[in-house]
């Protein structure tokens, strides 16, 4: 077993609603090239294993992993795909390095959501084919139902959820990689059309294209290659019931369990005191509030209140989604978790530009795989 694992290289491309100038391969290449340059490695010579995250139906290609090696420099190397979120990919690389068998591993995730013309039709195919899909409901209904139950039990309000949108899309204005920056008011959000009541269209992240590549290294390699390694203190991931009939609608156990696992590895007992900032899933605005509570930063029902008070604002005590989150950067499908982790790395390196936070040492990235899943992952990092 190796000791610690660090992220030593990051690269990205796209982060726009459409990217017609590039094929998905060319989009991946640009991100990879930047990540390898950032890490100071030659993928053909140095990187020992590669991990991608992808789902076939997001790509429109079965066995999509076929098409991943060439543009990442991974031809004739140990490479595999995880059909999960980018944080699952990072956790996989983390495990590979911890076996002691590998010292440099690259992770890739991307979205070409603009090429998927029927996202709702495809997402409907993630519903149970016998029990749920024949009811022919747009899968956002799962978000609406969960939000309704969450508001009912926690006492959080629609205004508080709208406040998340205001904050994140305002944060996005400071992030050149966030196409959905905007100055909005709570009223602007709440006056939008409903998507699946109480969930509104304007509380839902729009899809975007983009690719992210990260290079992970063993402690030994990281110390040689990088002046600003970002250490992984803990990784956790978990599933809850995939069935809509028997899941606990008021909580997100997958997030709670994933956090518990990551905290145990990191030796963290008081997350709010130990962790300085977080990037959490906000595919739907309420998800940010729910996740902050499940991650143990706030008591159940408290996240909405502290959001209204500005605590999670970029100038607050506990900044959340300074990048703009999914609401600001877009829903990047399987790459969402990598986008969250990217912001943590940029911030911990002190290279986040105008949105740089001061005095930070530990950050947490969280991701959720979207409706109808009950699957999430957490990663804790420090500089």
């Amino acid at each position: 077993m190796s000791d610690r694992v660090a992220i030593i290289g990051i690269g990205w491309s796209g982060f726009r609603p459409v990217t017609p100038e590039y094929s998905y391969k060319e989009l991946m290449y640009e991100a990879a090239r930047r990540a390898y340059s950032d890490a100071g490695v030659d993928p053909r010579r140095d990187i020992e294993s590669f991990v991608t995250v992808a789902e076939d139906f997001h790509e429109g290609t079965s066995i999509f992993d076929e098409y991943t090696p060439d543009q990442l420099g991974a031809v004739l190397k140990p490479m595999h795909t995880i059909t999960g979120d980018g944080l699952h990919g990072l956790a996989t690389a983390y495990m590979l390095i911890k076996t002691g068998q590998f010292s440099l591993v690259a992770v890739e995730g991307h979205s070409k959501a603009s090429n998927l013309l029927t996202p709702d039709g495809v997402t409907a195919y993630a519903q149970d084919p016998v029990l749920n899909r024949p009811l022919r409901m747009n899968t956002h209904f799962v978000g609406g139902m969960e939000m309704n139950r969450y508001l009912y039990e926690s006492g959080s309000t629609q205004e508080q959820c709208a406040q998340v949108v205001v904050k994140n899309r305002s944060n996005a204005l400071e992030n050149p990689s966030a196409p959905f920056g905007a100055d909005l008011s709570v009223e602007d959000i709440l006056s939008g059309p409903p998507l699946s009541w109480p969930l509104g269209v304007r509380e839902t992240a729009e899809h975007a294209d983009g690719a992210i590549v990260m290079v992970l290294a063993s402690e030994e390699k990281a110390k040689v290659l990088s002046e600003t390694p970002v250490w992984i203190l803990g990784a956790g991931w978990s599933n809850d019931s995939p069935g809509l009939e028997n899941r606990d609608w008021s909580s997100a156990n997958y997030t709670k369990n994933a956090a518990k696992m990551a905290y145990r590895q990191a030796g963290i007992y008081h997350p709010y005191q130990t962790i300085d900032f977080a990037e959490v899933s906000d595919i739907y605005a309420y998800k940010e509030l729910q996740s902050l509570e499940e991650l143990g930063f706030f008591q159940f029902g408290e996240a909405g209140l502290v959001t209204e008070e500005g605590l999670t604002h970029k100038d607050g005590d506990f900044p959340v989604n300074v990048s703009g989150g999914c609401l600001g950067m877009g829903n990047l499908l399987d790459a969402n978790g990598l986008a969250r982790a990217l912001e943590i790395v940029l911030q911990l390196r002190g290279t986040a530009g105008p949105r740089q936070l001061e005095g930070i040492n530990v950050g947490l990235a969280h991701s959720w795989r979207g409706v109808p899943t009950a699957s999430g992952a957490v990663m804790i990092m420090s500089n």
């Binding site: 590039y22 989009l27 998927l116």
Partner: protein
Amino acid sequence: MSDKISTYPGTSLSEKEIRDGKVLSIQDQMPGKFSWDTGIAIGKYLAGLKDGVIFGSYCATCRRTVVPPRTICEWCFQPMDRYIPLEDTGIVNTFSLCYVTWDVRRIKEPETPAVIEIDGASSLHGIMHKLGEVEPQEIKIGMRVKAVWKSAEMRQGAITDILYFKPHEGSH
């Protein structure tokens, strides 16, 4: 443990049991529509096909010409140096005579898929296409072939702008 297991789970059904309604089933078809960005290299390839030209790309580091073209060389991971118009002739690297369609309908006259090494590309570099104007039994590995194109006005920038490859005598 295999020799200690008396029964293995799993229940076999026949098509008939479903057809007769003894086992219920649900049918559905996914509304999955895609519009894939061709990007730079494949965009060039398709534009070439529309003009009746097969493009490859050349890597000066590896001294290799590949087809279909790409923007990067997968061996050295450097950008490709240039696009090269290749011949529309080549040799059959391998072929098959296929008596079932992609959705498993039986056909009498076989489809004739082949990998064709394109003249002008490096050795063993080719594309998948079909053969035509030849008796299936006459096809041989190593046979020289030439593309048969759709007429210029019918071409639309797709791999099907080449109808098939036919036997071709003569040097390249």
